[in-house]
């Protein structure tokens, strides 16, 4: 049975992960959205996904490098046609400055995970510390009850570590952030947009005078 959680189309096995011949076109897309810093926008943005029945796989909201501008990083599985619609409908929101979508190879992606491991198990099973070192994870806290391990990387690296630790039966808690991304292109799309808008504003003002 194929699960229909939005990550697969339900009719083919391609869905971005597999490499079947009949590709349904579904891929993991990441939208990077910039908005004014206004309360309530997150709701409006996620509502666009809900209405179009697209599940959000990961979401991160933070201040951007431009003062007063917020950055949303949202990943989902869908077709390119769909992601185009989502992008345009999001950009249509009055206080959204810009929305763009990217495939996996067009951005640098990072996520962080925290693991809370049981200290007695970690001590009794030598494999645990080997796994932690092998995966380049950091130990950030040790006490008689638990050990906290931090790992930054791509989703797959983090999940690989999680699977290994789970096999050792030592994971008390596991938490993972949404992905954060930086585009690979050399043009800063937001800066360009703001520059054009500023010029437009100046032009409008001179025309009015």
């Amino acid at each position: 049975m194929k699960k229909n959680d939005g990550s697969q189309c339900g009719t083919c096995d391609t869905c971005g992960k597999c490499n079947d011949q009949n590709d349904c076109g579904i891929r993991m897309y990441t939208l990077i959205i910039y908005s004014e810093n206004i309360a309530g926008l997150l709701n409006q943005i996620t509502a666009v996904f809900t209405r179009r029945q697209v599940n959000i796989e990961s979401l991160n909201v933070c201040a951007s490098s431009t003062p007063g501008v917020h950055k949303y990083t949202i990943s989902c599985y869908c077709t390119e046609e769909m992601v185009k619609m989502l992008t345009k409908q999001i950009e249509k929101k009055i206080d959204v400055l810009q929305a763009n979508y990217f495939l996996e190879d067009e951005i640098y992606i990072q996520e962080t995970a925290l693991f809370k491991l049981s200290t007695p198990v970690v001590l009794s099973n030598k494999n645990v510390s080997r796994i932690v070192r092998f995966h380049d994870a950091r130990i950030v806290e040790v006490n008689p009850n638990y050990v906290v391990v931090e790992k930054s990387g791509m989703t797959d690296d983090i999940l690989a570590l999680y699977e290994k630790l789970k096999d050792c039966d030592c994971v008390l808690q596991f938490a993972r952030t949404g992905r954060i991304c930086i585009t690979k292109g050399c043009v800063e799309l937001l800066d360009e947009y703001l520059k054009v808008r500023m010029m437009k504003y100046d032009l409008q003002k001179t025309q009015q005078q």
Binding site: K84, M85, K92, I94, D95, K200, Y201
Partner: protein, 565 residues
């Protein structure tokens, strides 16, 4: 030079700055400071007290649609605001510019389930172009100006301002504000010379072009540009329901209405043309029918102001973004003067076939009960085809829109995307304010009239000159037609027992007349139009008439039913 005033007074001044002269509203606890301020502005701000807040919104919509200005509504918090929801959703889908200002509990009580507190922003965000809570009197001037700018510019739409009580009463230094630029909002995308050139090239190469005219032409005030474009290249056109008056009905290139109950020729030719040119329309499913077979043979050009409409329902070959007033003019300068006579003539046999099978019977029945179609036709003629047509929803809407004729833009006011029963009466009231010099004829059904019938009280109080033509079939006719066609004639809860509508009119001091016989119709219409002010003309019509032709839902657009049985 600023002056210290309350937030409510600041609202009044801000509305005046925006050129507002008419407001539709209903008071209540959380908006009382605003109503108190309004009392001092009675000379400049004419407030129309409706009988239900839904009526206020539809009235504002009617006002906006007929005038091209922004309609304005005031309501109280909680239940008052909730009663505006249907109208707001209707304005959203039909791109109607309105600003709805509702009261809200004081900012300190927000989120506490205070008396008449509803999360209005949360509820209205998905159905507005912008929804904003004014929590400080300092923000009033800015928020109001921004609201009007957003409602009116670009693709118009509804804006909600949720005005907390503390902000209504707080005192501020009032300074007017003018928002005409928002950096995150590009109301009109800039058009591209290259795209214009490509469009002109495609049009010049086309042998069988067909234009789809939408409400965007009206919203962009581009009727003249449209006409110039069509005439230069001699391109036949069909109009959507909301675009019906963007092109005069008797224009030789106007081939009629598109869509489910549109004209046969338009729908057949949609699937025969080699170039489909959509202007300010959004390929609604009521226009396209089955998308998998829709205009597959044609190249498609889509003129629109809203980038998110491009490729939403129908994949297009070329998108011409911008205000169609500008883009049409630019394309027109590049298209060749052409003569597609043979193609234009090829519409005729279909028009004739529809005339023989449908129109003749609909307009000149020999016997039997009155038909909605002949009434709409006669009323239109009696007004020289110059009246504003306002409709409710259902068969009355389809028949009146089909058989009314239009001579100028801004003449059809109907609920398209939402199909909101109860829209007609209050929208017609609003239209009388938006176009006081014009005759406003409102066609409604026995069902829809009763959804907002309380607005007869508004008509009585205001003396609004609405000509109400009630097409009474004692049925929820539109639903009955579908039951007849698709549910085995099982009339589940569509027959209606109705009140004596003339008695109701009498109670509201509105003159009325009922026509049953065909020979009385002309005189009754004459009496209605000659009577000063409002009039209720009840027409007792055939109970089980069907709107034809019809593309069944989901069928191919050109597969229209012309006859039943």
């Amino acid at each position: 030079m600023s002056e210290r005033v309350t937030g409510s007074e600041a609202l009044m001044r801000s509305l005046e700055n925006e050129g507002v002269t008419t407001l539709f509203g209903y008071p209540g606890g959380a908006i009382m400071p605003v109503y108190d301020a309004l009392y001092d502005h009675r000379d400049t701000l004419n407030h129309v007290l409706v009988r239900h807040e839904q009526g206020a919104v539809h009235a504002a919509q009617g006002y906006a649609r007929v005038s091209g200005k922004v309609g304005c509504v005031i309501a109280t918090s909680g239940p008052g605001a909730m009663n505006t929801i249907t109208g707001i959703a209707d304005a959203m889908i039909d791109s109607t510019p309105i600003v709805v200002i509702c009261g809200q509990v004081g900012a300190a009580m927000l989120g506490t389930d205070a008396f008449q507190e509803v999360d209005v922003i949360g509820v209205t965000q998905p159905i507005t172009k912008w929804a904003y809570q004014i929590r400080r009197a300092e923000d009033v001037a800015w928020a109001v100006s921004r609201a009007f700018y957003i409602a009116k510019s670009g693709r118009p739409g509804p804006v909600v301002l949720d005005f907390t009580k503390n902000a209504q009463t707080a005192v501020v230094e009032y300074e007017s504000a003018k928002v005409d630029f928002i950096r995150s909002y590009v109301p009109v995308p800039e058009w591209d010379d290259n795209v214009i050139l490509q469009a002109a090239t495609m049009i010049n190469a086309s042998k069988k072009p067909f234009v789809l005219v939408g409400q965007g032409v009206e919203l962009g005030e581009a009727s003249c540009e449209l006409k110039a474009f069509l005439e230069k290249a001699q391109i036949p056109a069909g109009c959507t329901l909301l675009g019906l008056s963007a092109l005069p009905s008797d224009h030789p290139l106007n081939m009629g209405m598109l869509g489910m109950h549109g004209n046969l020729a338009c729908n057949v030719k949609t699937n025969e043309c080699d170039l489909l040119i959509a202007i300010g329309m959004r390929f609604d499913d009521r226009v396209t029918g089955n998308l998998n077979t829709y205009a597959k043979q044609a190249k498609i050009i889509h003129f629109d102001i809203d980038p998110s409409e491009i490729n939403k329902n129908v994949k297009v070959d070329l998108a011409v973004l911008g205000n169609c007033k500008d883009t049409l003019a630019a394309v027109t300068s590049l298209v060749k003067e052409t003569n597609h006579q043979e193609w234009v003539d090829s519409f005729k046999p279909y028009a004739e076939r529809e005339y023989e099978k449908v129109t003749k019977k609909a307009l000149a029945p020999i016997d039997g009960p009155l038909l909605m179609s002949e009434i709409a036709h006669k009323v239109s003629e009696a007004t020289n085809n110059e009246a504003v047509l306002v409709t409710d929803v259902g068969q009355n809407q389809m028949f009146s829109c089909k058989y009314f004729k239009f001579t100028h833009a801004h003449s059809v006011i109907t609920s398209g995307g939402c199909g909101t029963m109860g829209f007609g009466l209050p929208a017609a009231i609003g239209a009388t304010y938006g176009a006081p010099e014009r005759t406003v004829c409102m066609f409604t059904g026995d069902g829809g009239l009763q959804m907002t019938i309380q607005e007869l009280g508004t008509i009585m109080e205001q003396g609004s000159p609405v000509k109400i033509i009630l097409l009474n079939n004692n049925f929820l006719g539109n639903v009955r037609q579908w039951q007849y066609l698709f549910f085995n004639k099982r009339y589940s809860y569509t027959p209606m027992v109705n009140p004596d509508f003339e008695l109701i009119a009498k109670a509201y001091d509105i003159p009325s007349r009922t026509v049953i016989l065909r020979e009385d119709l002309d005189d009754a219409i004459r009496e209605m139009l000659e009577t000063d002010g409002a009039f209720l003309l009840q027409c007792v019509v055939k109970e089980e008439d069907n709107v034809l032709p019809m593309t069944p839902p989901g069928a191919n657009v050109d597969e229209m039913i012309l006859e039943i049985e």
